[in-house]
């Protein structure tokens, strides 16, 4: 370690604690708001300590049965979002690992052309191609379907590049040893390449899951029916009710619930995530 003196330790910790406060305070404040009644929230200032409405608010949001957003329960919203986030993350990983595999380990005509084509799509995020994509989804009848939510987001140049970089660090001898051992391209992919890249896959999964979870623009466009809303869209719809009617305490509860699954994914996969980013296992 570089700094051993107490002053340096103190400064380092001070900076870290400050950072945590800056990041953590809004979340804490949301939590606090989610434990007060609507009246308390609407009458500023909002107390800094949690109120006594925790149980009431959460049970009302979860099981209240009021059709707050067109009769869709929070459970349904969480399910929709989970399906979308999982679909995007898994889909992106499948597609990008296969294309990276092809680009790194096979020699075929126009290999580099394909690589550059994939690379160039980095410049065309969803927002840029949103009109043609929307038109295609409409023509295919994919509005208000999970497929419509997931498929347009599923190609990933970034993930392909990451896997390509990782695959290029795999020693050629390992590939050759597998060939001598009688493993064809498919066997090599399943038996050797996938297990060796599992930490990378895990790290990428965490990032992509959160990417899918927080999608806003595309789900907003492609879902008309309230049944198919993701929780992020539903939150916005809750707020856009007539000003006075906005049930802020329930909005806060929903916001808290919305950040739980991504946190769970990060916490549960943290070990893999860090290993995937830090070490390359060979």
């Amino acid at each position: 370690m570089i700094g051993q003196s107490p002053l340096r330790t103190f400064i380092a910790h001070a900076v870290l604690i400050l950072g945590i406060l800056i990041v953590g305070f809004p979340i804490y404040y949301t939590f606090v708001a989610s434990t007060h009644t609507l009246q308390t929230i609407l009458r500023p200032p909002l107390p800094l300590l949690p109120g006594g409405q925790l149980w009431n608010n959460y049970s009302e949001a979860l099981f209240g049965g009021i059709g707050r957003i067109g009769g869709v329960s929070v459970g349904q919203l969480l399910l929709n979002t989970t399906i979308m986030a999982l679909g995007v993350a898994v889909g992106k990983i499948c597609i990008s690992i296969l294309s990276a595999y092809a680009i790194v380990f096979f020699r075929f005509p126009l290999r580099m052309t394909f690589f550059w084509l994939i690379f160039i799509t980095l410049m065309l995020p969803v927002e840029v191609r949103i009109l043609p994509t929307y038109k295609v989804m409409v023509d295919l009848g994919m509005i208000d379907t999970y497929a419509g939510l997931i498929i347009p987001l599923i190609a990933s140049a970034t993930a392909t590049l990451l896997f390509r970089q990782f695959f290029m660090t795999i020693p050629g001898e390992l590939v050759e040893a597998a060939r001598v051992d009688g493993a064809g391209p498919w066997r090599f992919f399943i038996d050797i390449l996938l297990p060796v890249s599992r930490t990378n896959i895990a790290a990428l999964f965490v990032i992509l899951f959160i990417y899918g979870w927080t999608q806003y623009l595309w789900p907003l466009l492609v879902t008309n029916s309230n049944d198919m809303n993701t929780i992020v869209i539903a939150l916005r719809k809750m707020v856009s009710f007539a000003d006075a009617d906005t049930e802020w305490h329930l909005v806060m509860v929903t916001a808290m619930l919305a950040i739980v699954p991504p946190i769970l994914v990060v916490v549960l996969m943290q070990r893999w995530f860090v290993r995937g980013l830090v070490e390359s296992e060979k």
Binding site: E173, E176, A178, V180, D181, G182, R187, I192, V196, E281
Partner: protein, 355 residues
């Protein structure tokens, strides 16, 4: 169980680089053939062509009498030990060894018995549940060997398998590889740049240089009768002493004008050489007929224990003389280096041996 025959094998890369320029080697059954040469001489490329990892531009490779140019590494029934071992990092030792057998559809209980018996031979039985990263370099080396042996292939191919080990372990493994190869009786091709490894392991030694075979033969034959200056200086440590000759009416002379004190040779040799151990030093000035006598100055003395190497300057060239035990000479001493005439090697303008 198999012979390996290379006939005029060539490798030309798409870039136009000719890595192997026509090599023919016949390896009899059960023999260990060592390909040795400096880096970039094409020895590894040649091995990879035998393995089927590299396409063959011209010529044929035959294993067990059957030309294998067109078939892949799996069907050639070879096993290869790589320089960096290339163990599958996520598999236990057991699975590393069993993987090739599983891919060939060997029954489970047979895989088990073969892996376990191979592990026993290589003293790996206690390590079967470990992963490669939990093993030392020497143990990884054994697993790589085990992976090759367990398949019971027709041919073993070794690509500088010992170059990542420390000197002591390398010595041990060298002996072990030799014993294993002899016990198993599997035809083997072994690539190395280490001439000591080459000398001690080989049944057939093939010295390569710049994509061509310089000399093929039993190790000691190659050592005693190097076919060219390249072989003479590559095989043997320290290398052979080489002195340039100039012709004159009275017979060949050394570069500095010293006449050679015995009958000139008929053939136009331009270089003469002798091994460090074939020379001796003397402080006396008596005439020594039938020997090459060079006045020399000692520059440095390297005591190695059982022997000492005297680095001298004679006739304008640096030469090394091996004397057994402690050297009495000191740096700066003037003495005479004496090499017997029958121990001299002569080479012509093209660097080829002249007898």
């Amino acid at each position: 169980m198999a012979t390996v025959d290379l006939k005029d094998v060539k490798k030309v890369y798409p870039s136009g680089v000719e890595a192997v320029k026509g090599v023919s080697i016949a390896i009899p059954d059960k023999e260990l053939c060592v390909l040795v040469g400096p880096s970039g001489c094409g020895k590894s490329t040649l091995l990879r062509m035998i393995a089927g990892l590299e396409t063959i531009s011209a010529g044929t490779v035959a294993i067990d009498g059957k030309v294998v140019n067109a078939i892949g590494p799996t069907e050639r029934d070879i096993a290869m030990v790589f320089q960096n071992y290339a163990l599958y990092p996520h598999m236990k030792v057991y699975d590393n060894m069993a993987y090739g057998l599983r891919n060939r559809g060997t029954p489970k209980d047979e895989i088990d018995s073969r892996v376990r018996s191979t592990a026993k031979v290589l003293e790996l039985s206690a390590l079967l549940d470990r992963r490669p990263r939990e093993l030392s370099g020497g143990q990884r080396q054994r697993v790589a060997m085990g992976r090759a042996i367990v398949r019971n292939p027709k041919v073993f191919l070794f690509d500088e398998p010992l170059s990542n080990l420390d000197a002591k372990l390398r010595g041990q493994m060298r002996v072990e590889i030799k014993n294993l190869q002899r016990t198993l009786g599997v035809t083997s091709v072994y690539v190395t740049h280490d001439q000591l490894e080459a000398m001690t392991l080989a049944d057939i030694l093939v010295v390569m240089n710049a994509g061509l075979v310089e000399q093929t033969g039993a190790p000691l034959d190659v050592y005693e009768k190097p076919a060219s200056i390249f072989v003479a200086s590559f095989i043997g440590a320290p290398p052979m002493n080489l002195l340039a000759l100039t012709g004159s009416s009275s017979g060949p002379m050394l570069a500095d004008g010293t006449a050679i004190g015995f009958a000139a040779r008929e053939t136009p040799a331009v270089t003469l050489g002798f091994r460090p151990e074939d020379a001796d030093v003397t402080f006396n000035a008596e005439a020594l007929p039938g020997a090459l006598v060079l006045p020399a100055t000692v520059e440095a003395v390297e005591p190695v224990g059982a022997e000492s190497f005297l680095h001298c300057v004679a006739a304008g060239s640096r030469i090394i003389v091996r004397v057994s035990g402690r050297a009495t000479a000191k740096p700066g001493d003037q003495l005479r280096v004496v090499a017997k005439a029958e121990k001299l090697h002569w080479f012509d303008q093209a660097g080829k041996r002249v007898d």
